[in-house]
Every structure is written in structure tokens, then in C-alpha cells.
């Protein structure tokens, strides 16, 4: 059981929650979060790791209140418990060299820990971050400590801002249309792109087959074999 350290709204309907008492994961992995005891909402909600503070043993999530489960998270106060099962999923591969991170909306969240890990693993590496928001930016400042550039787009298409012709690894997380646009751009430029996919999940560990998708290498489970895939493998599933 994790203990909530802080939980507050950082932008309209966007909340940041920090918890202690969970194992630490890595960028791109997620936890199934669940309010303890209640049978409704019943299932955990997959929420990505946004930032890990290994020293304090704390994990931060940033989540958007879209339905009953996330609305319930927003009512929790520091000191209360939350069930955090995980970390689950494969996480982002930390490829050597330059990195370009693209986050759309709440897809920004996992990019922060990714930036942190990329920077930590090689502080000399170039990191460019592109963030797209519909109306209001968040988390942007936090990227500055790790990134060489942070470009923000509000109301437009963030993928259009990105130069895919660099000798770099591209990482993207965001809504499906954004990922599809990134995939097309990567195709054209023959870029290396990793995407983090979203599917409705029940178990989060690969047992229920609720989140499978068709890939180049047969059916895969987004929760267990992903959520991060080389975009070429999952082109039809995006």
C-alpha cells in the first residue's frame, strides 16, 4: 500500500500525486492505481510514472480527471492510502545518442521521467522536448533541468514542430492521432520512433488479454509486451 504525500491540481483537471511506499520503476512503466477497499471503481487505473525520486523513495503521477476512477483519486488527501500495483510494462528503452521527446496532453507525463533517465544515463546527450497541449500547458518547467530545448505548442499540432531528420531516437506518448502523425513523419524520415500505446486494461499484467493488439510479430499485450513499442511493429494498432 502506498501513502499519499501530496495530491493537488496543477492545471485544469490535471492533478499531480506523489506517493511513497511503492517499488521504484522506470520511465514508460505504469502502476495500476486503486482506492483501497471499495469494489467500485473495481479495477485499477493504469497511470504512468511521471517522476521518480529515488532518494526519497517517492513516485509522482500526473493524471487527468476524465471519469469516476480519476475523479476519486482527486478526492484523496495526503496521509491517505492508495493501492499502487506495479511497476508494470516494459518502459522506454534508453538508446544512446540524441533524443527527441514528444508528449501530447497527458502523454507528457511519462516523458518527464524519460527525460530524467536519459539525462542521468548520459548528461552530455542532447535532449529536445516537444510538448503539445490543447489549452493549457503543464509540467513544462520541470523538463528544463534535463532538456536542451523545450518547445511548447498550445492548440496546434505538436508533431509539426518536430524535425524528424535528426540522428536521434524519437519517443512519443499522446493521443492516437498524434501518434499516427508521428508515425507518418518517422516513416518519411526513416526515423527511429518509440511510442507508448493506450488500451483499456483490466489486469495490467498480461493475463486477461483485454489489451492485446495486432503487431508485426503477432498479437501482443499492451500492458505486458508494451506499452512502449517500436512504432513499426504496431503501425496498425496505433
Amino acid at each position: 500500500m502506498a501513502i499519499i504525500k501530496s495530491n493537488s491540481e496543477i492545471a485544469s483537471a490535471i492533478w499531480r500525486m506523489t506517493v511513497s511506499g511503492t517499488p521504484l520503476g522506470r520511465a514508460g512503466q505504469f502502476f495500476m492505481l486503486r482506492v483501497p477497499g471499495a469494489l467500485d471503481p473495481l479495477l485499477g487505473r493504469p497511470i504512468s510514472i511521471c517522476e521518480i525520486d529515488a532518494e526519497l523513495g517517492e513516485t509522482t503521477f500526473v493524471y487527468q480527471t476524465v471519469g469516476r476512477g480519476t475523479a476519486q483519486f482527486a478526492r484523496l488527501l495526503p496521509g491517505q492510502e492508495i493501492e499502487a500495483q506495479g511497476p508494470y510494462g516494459n518502459g522506454f528503452p534508453l538508446k544512446a545518442g540524441r533524443a527527441v521527446l514528444i508528449g501530447g496532453g497527458i502523454g507528457t507525463a511519462p516523458m518527464l521521467q524519460l527525460a530524467k533517465e536519459l539525462h542521468a544515463s548520459d548528461p552530455t546527450r542532447m535532449i529536445d522536448v516537444y510538448l503539445g497541449f490543447r489549452e493549457e500547458a503543464y509540467l513544462e518547467k520541470s523538463f528544463e533541468q534535463y532538456a536542451d530545448s523545450v518547445t511548447r505548442n498550445i492548440g496546434g499540432y505538436v508533431v509539426n514542430d518536430v524535425d524528424f531528420s535528426l540522428d536521434a531516437t524519437y519517443y512519443a506518448c499522446g493521443p492516437a492521432p498524434m501518434l499516427r502523425a508521428a508515425a507518418s513523419a518517422a516513416d518519411e524520415a526513416s526515423a527511429n520512433l518509440f511510442v507508448s500505446l493506450e488500451k483499456h486494461m483490466a489486469c495490467g499484467v498480461g493475463a486477461c488479454l483485454g489489451c492485446t493488439c495486432q503487431t508485426e510479430h503477432g498479437r501482443k499485450r499492451v500492458c505486458k509486451d508494451g506499452p512502449v513499442f517500436d512504432y513499426r511493429e504496431v503501425r496498425d494498432a496505433i
Binding site: L43, Q85, G206, L209, G210, T212
Partner: protein
Amino acid sequence: MQSNPLELTLCGIFLKNPVIAASGTFGFGHEYSEVMDISRLGGISGKGLTLNGSAGNKGMRVYETPSGMLNSIGLENPGVRHFVEHEAAYMRTLGPAVIANLGGHCEEDYLEGARLLNNADIDILELNISCPNVKAGGMAFGMLPDTAADITKKVKAVSKHPVMVKLSPNAPDLVAVARACEGAGADALSLVNTFLGMAIDVKKKRPVFENIYAGLSGPAILPIALRMVHQVAHAVNIPVVGMGGITSAEDALKFLMAGAVAVQVGTMTFADPNAMLSIIDGLAEYCAQEGLANLQEIVGII
């Protein structure tokens, strides 16, 4: 030496406790073995198999409902051959009794599947005639006493394993189906599979599932499942394995008191992977508190 008060024999198979992972909610054991001590379970019923395997259904597959969930997996599975060659031996290493869950689209599928499973080191064949999520076959075999009895008899004739028939709560006359399966030689019955339900995406003005209907499971269905287990257990003389929404030792005790010799747990494992272990602990505590030499003493007391 103190004997284990949770142990039982089901279809001649030893189970160290009456808590079995429900088919389709536990894969073949790999995944949860990474997050919990699955050797402690009484049994594991593997993902529903079909003769040639299947990619399952398109579109949305799982959808939460109040205290429950709808699924439309559609028996995505690697096929019986793959199971026999790659999974059965692995499942045997885990410790819990090994149950293979066999679905099918037509009679020949079931019979060929059962024949192939004769080559696998499994303990029980769970004959799934109750999957609501496949278009041909599946639940259709479990809806009427005659068809249920017919397939049971034929599978019994070819299988060397004990056959436990898994019943559908959607059958018009569940008790009649249960009796028919017993008459056809079933060694045990398990119930319930999922209830046919529906979800609508109001924003999209569309059913959530491509098949329109899907299967409801989880705590929401417990009161109905419990009633059905009570009815069936009182109507047949073969062992009944009960399930449907079990979340706790107390829930498991309800099914045992209603007449089930063992239980399966599905959806709750998704919500809390350790739920089955807590249930086993709770049942052991119950035996200690109540001074039961064996938990089976309370089976069917209601």
C-alpha cells in the same frame, strides 16, 4: 501430524485448498507468477482453448461496470496443440492442480481438442460450453439440456481426464442443464461463466463492443451466481465448483455453504492480484476459529 483442513479431493484429484484461479483470468500462470506466490493456489484453470487457437475479438475487449466488468475477449488463445506442447508441462511445475479449459465452435472441435489433451499432463478438463463471446458454438452448447448432455457424453467418451462441465448462467433452465450433464457422465460442474450484458458508449451512440453483447463478471453478479450455485448444488450429486464475483474468504464461504466444494476467482484477481492468497489465509483462519477438522464439513450446510 496435523492434517491440512483446507485440502479436498475433486474428481479424484487432490487440491491443497479449494481456491482455483478462474479460466481466462490467469493465462497459463506465467504472468501472475511474477507478482504473487501462485504455488499456494489450490488449482489453476488455464485460458480457454480452442482447437486451432484464435486471435479473439476485435475492438474494445474489457469495460468496467459498477462493481463488475464486461469482457469480449472471444477466446483469444494459442490453440490446443500449443498448450499441449508448451504450456501444460509448465503449469505442472507450478504446484496447483492443473485444469485445462476447452472451448469450441463445433462438436468436432471439442472432440479433437479433448483427444489432443489426452497427451497433456493435466488434472481436469473443464469443458467450457458457456463462453458468451464467440459467434459459433461456445455458449450455444450450454443453453439447452440436450445439447449440453450430448457434448458432455461425447467428450467423456474420448477424454481420459475427469471432465468438469462449465455452465452458463444464461441458460434458460440452468438446473435442467446441470442435471443433463450429470446424467451424461460429467464428473463435476463449474459455474457460473459470465452473464450476457451490454454496454453503450453514449458519446459515440454505439455499443461499446463489436459483438454488441459481452460477458459480465465480478462482485456485481455474486448474489445471482450464489443463487444459481445453491440451486444446482441441491439438484445434482456430483461436485460443484462455484464462482462469480468472489472477493474475500467470506464470499468463498458463502459459495461453500451453498454447496460448492471449491471456488474459482476471476475478476477480483485483476483488481487485487493477492486476493486469492488472502482468501486462502482467511479460509484457514476460519477453520481454526470454528475448529473444523476439514473445511468440507461446511459444504452445502445451507
